[in-house]
Amino acid sequence: MADLKLTNVAKSYGNAMYVLQDINLDIKQGELVVFVGPSGCGKSTLLRMIAGLEKISGGRLEIDGQVVNDVPPAQRGIAMVFQSYALYPHMTVRENMAFALRIARKPRDEINAAVERAAKILQLEPYLDRLPKALSGGQRQRVAIGRSIVRDPKVYLFDEPLSNLDAALRVATRIEIAKLKESMPDSTMIYVTHDQVEAMTLASRIVVLANKGIAQVGTPLDLYERPENEFVAQFIGSPAMNLLPGKIVETGEQTRVDLDGGGSAVCAIPTQPGDKGKAVNIGVRPEDLVASQSETPLFKGKVDIIEALGEVTLLYFESQGGREPVIAKFTGIHPELRGQEIGLTAAPEKVHLFHQGQSMRP
């Protein structure tokens, strides 16, 4: 169980091709940190660099205060769970779990005890003498996790461990991982996923990666409520946050923005007098938009398409000026709204303010 510290870590293939740059990250013991980001953002590469499966091209990686840049994977005190489970197909579940300890020439009793303990935690006892091909997908995933528990590592690394499972199993296994983390409060875990539900539900902190670097680090609710930039704002939450361009017309404790589309928004973020006239984007999440009869709504438009999801209804408004259509999420079922002209507004504390892509929240 240990801390992990990345300082200016970079990854490049060849000379100029940087895929990751200036990664600075402090992970404390007991945290479950989730790396998310669009595909190709380098999140798996970063995880593999921590594991030692990819060379680190620049910067420092410390585990427990020791620089481990040149230490081979096995000696870093990490364990990794792969997306494809990576079970050894010719070994039984027991042999799979015991493999690392056998390599380390641990005594037989110790190996057996560790395997039994892990099997018990993961309810794998009945399957210990089966081959991986005789297991279901969920069971295989549990074996892969068990294999890492057996090694009692300082840091657990998970590389999209749930993406090969079907939807129902994914939810069940996600909850199991959450329970597992709860049962081992001291262990440090790093988890890579492209699924933001996994990220939001599991993480103690989320690291959003984009554009060769870290876009924001924070707790799940932090990222949801206080995104530091437009990228994070749009990446977290589904459907994505609406961004509407406008100009600041009033500054002070609250800020008023006149939108290019004709609407007007009030936002609970304080601004300086010098900010007046700045071109900004306001951001409002679809679930924060409410219907309004006001004379000066935030947005007014005709409902183009309705998606009824049961507990909520998504309203897609006709797009204006070639921009992404505004989306609103209303609770309940509203088939009658299609084709209607509706005004929308939002509470000032739910309105985000971005200038040149960055949040203006102090």
Partner: protein, 341 residues
Amino acid sequence: MNLDLLNSPAVLGVVTIVLGVSGCVGYFYFSNLILDKVIFPPRGRNAGRNINYANMVRPWLFLLPALLALGLYLAYPVFKTLHFSLTERVPGGGNVWVGAANYQQMLKEPKFWEAMRNNMLWLIVVPALATAFGLLVAQLTDRIRWGNIAKSLIFMPMAISFVGASVIWKLVYDTRPAEQDQIGMLNALYIFFGGSDPQTWLTIPFWNNFFLMAVLVWIQTGFAMVILSAALRGIPEETVEAAIVDGASPLTIFFKIKVPQIRATILVVWTTITITVLKVFDIVFAMTNGQWETQVLANYMYDKLFRANDWGVGSAAAMVIMLLVAPILVWNVRNARNEMR
């Protein structure tokens, strides 16, 4: 202990297996051990650097025995043969440089040109027929229930040695005097269908080449069939179904939909058989030994090397075979490199 027993080849064989296997395993095990424990130990101040060094050296440890064997048994002989082909052995040992004299002498021999002509015939006929038959069988057996048994039986000659196949076919071509019952199938059929006198098939110049080629076609068809059958299975079923819906006849589907999609595989099969043909030796050696105008390059070369003891001309003939293989070699290497990328 009995000394004879010790000298018997069987015991020698067992000893060689044990020595060879334990030698290989021992080499790999101990060289790794020495690398990790003695030369670059992963401890101390330079632990990280040492591990990197060890990992740079290790691939070469794994490769070394194979590289030595490949170099000595395949790469070196190519150059040595080239050297031999340009020199003449002098009595008492040693070679003298003679330039292209061996080649000139070879080009003047009618037997060489006969071998060249026959090899060209083989090159055209055998790959074409074997591939065609293989494709036919692969396609036909694809749809029938006992197809796998049929394929297995047609594939079977692959396991038979060229020498064994030569004996098998010599019986087919056997000739008895006219007044006796024919025991060779071909003559029996020939007489049955109204042929007058039994023929000695293998001594009819020019045509006897085709009787020899039949043996190789018989053997290689199975190879072509296996590869092409897998390729046919790999064709997306939807393209065929789309063609059926479009109203294409089975023949059209085969020639216009299926064959174009496996063109690359057909080429591979063709070239592989071509290489086999260029090296063909045993069949001619066993059935006619190059008499009655059936000489081929490989047998011509063998004649020169081991019967006439003329290493110069023999090596020159070997170089001609190498030259004929070279385009395929280059093509294969280029494909392999493209695939690696």
